[in-house]
Every structure is written in C-alpha cells, then in structure tokens.
Amino acid sequence: MDQLAARSSMIHNMTPLSKLWIAVFYILVTVSFHKYDISGLFVMVLFPLLGYQLSYIPVLTCFHKLRVVMPLVCAVGLLNPFYDRQILLTVGTVGISAGVISMLTLMMKGVFCLMMSFLLVATTGITGICSALRQIRCPEVITTLLLLTYRYISLLLEEVSTMTTAYHLRAPGQKGIRMSAWGSFLGQLILRSMDRAQGLYESMMLRGFHGEFHSAAENKGPRAVSAAVSVICSICVLACRWYNIPALLNSLVMF
C-alpha cells in the first residue's frame, strides 16, 4: 500500500484533505441512493473507475487486495430476494422481483464504496489521511491510534510470514501447520509481535515521537487546483444523484 501511495500522478498530487473530502462525499451520496434505483446508481461506478485510470492503478489491484472483504460485502444483501418478492419489472417473460434489485443495489453500493476507499488509501497513504484528519481537527488520539494500528497490523503480518517460513523450512512436505504446533505457534506469534511492537514504540519515543508521522514525499500539486477539483467532483456526484443520467440520455435519444 505504501508503495502505491508513493507513486506520482494527478490524483496522488492532490492534497490529502481534498481527496478525503471527495471520498467521504462520494460514499455518503452512493449510500443514499434508493434501494430500487439501480440505473441511477450504476453511473456512480464511473467516478472510481476514472480515479483508477488517472492514478495509473489497475482496478484489478483493488479487487485482488480486497478479495477477502469483497465477498462479505456482497453477501450482505443475499437474503433480500427471499423477503421482497413483489415483481418490479419484467425482462422478456422473466419477472424480476424487488428483492433481487435491492440485493444488486446493495452489492453495488458496497463494492463502489470499497473501490473508492481503496483508491483513497492507495493514492494518499495512511499518513496523508491522518494529516488530513488532523487538519479538520480530528483528535490526535484517534489519528495516532489509526497510524499505530496500521503499523502494527503490517508488523503482525510480517511476523506471521517469517514464522510460517521458518516452520516450513524445518517441516518439509507438510501441508499447513500441524494441529499440535498451533498452540505454541500462536503463543510465540503473540509474544514476538508484542515484543516487536514494544521495541518499535520505544524507538519512536527515543526519537521524540508525539503523535505525528511526517512523510518526506510532499504533495506537489497546488492547493487551489485540488480544491477546485474536489468542488467539481462533488458537483458531478450530486448531479448523478439528483438526475437519473441513464434515463436522461434515453429520453434525449428518443427525442
């Protein structure tokens, strides 16, 4: 993630605050769509797609990295078709129930919001997001917590990978980790990551840490441009919410 955030593109160069604003605004608006308004909602996918294009991050990266979370988000609406059986529209001879539509909109909302959040983190980095949060007077406790959690999670994952490697090197041909080793494995994992977390925290304190991480990479883009872009984006997002663009286009063509 840190590597994605360190690249350079139009989106990367925007100030963190404007990106945070666009992402939050987009998510709020997307969630506010009516549960049967599938055509209107569909247009919203354009924003994240455009974002991925402009920041040169393949959309697939997002789906790959979030492959664990995506199915969960999609599973949320799975029961809707069973509750809401009223027929809303018919395609040919097949009637589509309201439940199916609302399930689809729910899934789409979830996926779009995830795509946008991922884009935000991937182009801004966790330090950038936290500095933006600090700008809007978010309490330092929260941003510090966020930063440290982020660091500790990566540390935990690192520890897991080192330990599994060490295990497999001495247990060739074994699939997974043997049941009997799980207890000591988990125990060691917790102790080791706690030790490392403690060590890292100490070395932060030794270098005068007081709640903020500074990144050497500056956002080069001018503030005014970022602000203008975020206003324009907000207006576009709102327009998509107010007008049903596909219906509008349709009526234009008919006319």
Binding site: M205, L206, F213, A216
Partner: protein, 243 residues
C-alpha cells in the same frame, strides 16, 4: 555526561543482570563497551535511555537523573542504534525514517531532508535514500539505521553492535564516519577491531560487573584479561594467531 552510581538491575528479580555498576563517561569521550554474550551490554544502554529502570542506584545522563519525568529531555540529546535494526526502522522509506527524529524535534522538513542527504553521503549510501525499509538487505538496513541516528546529531551516541552484518567496505565507511563525529560515544561491540579504531577507553563487562576499565590500547592488548572474560584479542593485534 553519563554517570552510573552503584546501579543494580535485574529483569526477573532473581538473576542480576547489572551488579553494582559505577563509572563516569566524560563529554567527548569515545568509550567501547565489550563483554561476552549476555554480559549486560544492551541492558546497560537501555538503562541510560530509561527503557529499563535500575532497582538500586542512580544514573545521570547529561547531568540529569534518568527518571520518567526527565525522559523527553534526556532522550533529545541521546541517539541510540539498536542491536536489532528491524526494531529501529518503522517508516515506509529510509528517508522517511531519517527525517522522523529531526522533524519531531522541531526542524523544518526541507532542512531535515537536506541533513539526511548529507548523512547518507557521508556514509556512502546515497542509493538507499528512497528504498523501502522492508525491501532492503540486513546490512543495508543496518547502515540506514545508523544513518537515522546520525541525522539527529545527538550529543551522545549509544551504538549497540553497529558493525554487525556489515560488509568490509561498509564497515570501513562506518568507522571513517564515526571518527569524524566528535560527540561522546558509547559503542558496544564484539568487533574489537572497530573498538580499537574508534574508541580511546574500554569498559569490559562480565556478568553484569565491570571487569576492567581503562585505555583501549591497554585492555585490548591484554590477552589474559580478555580470555578470562570470554573474549579474544582483536585480529589486528594478533588474535587467533597464537592458537
């Protein structure tokens, strides 16, 4: 600059790790700390930084007692290179890590970056500047960790095994850089040649006690003393040749 008065410390409460330690390191002194594995070198350094507190005795750093209330002030003048660089580096890139300390102590970011670049140049590791901390080799990480501390320009430098996992050239660059920095230094190392090159005084630790304290030239030439305490003569003085 650093003063220990009858310091006793134990991690568990049973096995003593530091026993009745007393010594005084004056400003500008370059002191080598040697001793076998488990002698208590790292623990001694942690005690100076207030990462562990002695059960008995008193420690002064820069004339200030090492106590929780004074830690922020004390740590500002101390730079500590940890034995394990993995614990030292926590920012995404080497440069980010290097400016972390200076910026926290109030330096403008641009100035901190400039200072970091100078340090990298003095250690001949400019190529590491924008590398990711989790994508560099053990020795590279070691050099980067040392660079992060040098950038802080501390009044006292505490280094735990600075030359471990360094190749000969990097080791030489490190020694050269250390020699040009006139600040007070306490260097713990098994690399006795490095100590001989960079330090004028040596503290020999054994089982948490000071077994010898004197000029580096004298102690590092004393074969019997070193061997009695689980060490060997430095190679440059003829270590191993007599075996």
């Amino acid at each position: 600059m650093i003063q220990f008065d009858h310091v006793n410390f134990s991690y568990t409460g049973e096995q003593p790790v530091l026993q009745d330690l007393s010594f005084h390191i004056r400003e500008g002194e370059q002191v080598g700390l040697i001793g076998a594995n488990g002698a208590g070198k790292s623990t001694l350094m942690k005690a100076v930084l207030g990462l562990v507190y002695p059960q008995q005795g008193r420690i002064l750093a820069d004339g200030i007692p090492v106590e929780p209330a004074n830690l922020a002030q004390i740590r500002k003048s101390l730079g500590y290179v940890l034995q394990d660089s993995d614990q030292q580096m926590f920012m995404p890139t080497v440069l980010d890590d290097m400016i972390f300390g200076p910026v926290n102590y109030g330096l403008a970011k641009a100035e901190a970056v400039k200072k970091a670049e100078e340090t990298l140049a003095s250690l001949h590791i400019e190529h590491l500047k924008d590398r990711y901390n989790h994508r560099i080799s053990g020795g590279e990480k070691r050099m980067a960790a040392i660079a992060t501390i040098l950038t802080m320009e501390p009044k006292v430098m505490l280094m735990d095994e600075p030359s471990s996992s360094l190749d000969p050239r990097n080791r030489r660059n490190l020694i050269r850089a250390l020699k040009t920095i006139p600040v007070t230094k306490l260097i713990a190392a098994h690399d006795l040649d490095l100590i001989l090159d960079t330090c004028t005084r040596v503290l020999l630790l054994s089982g948490g006690r000071i077994a010898a304290d004197g000029p580096a030239e004298e102690i590092l030439r004393d074969r019997k003393l070193l061997e009695d305490n689980g060490l060997e003569l430095p190679l440059s003085i003829g270590g191993r040749s007599g075996q």
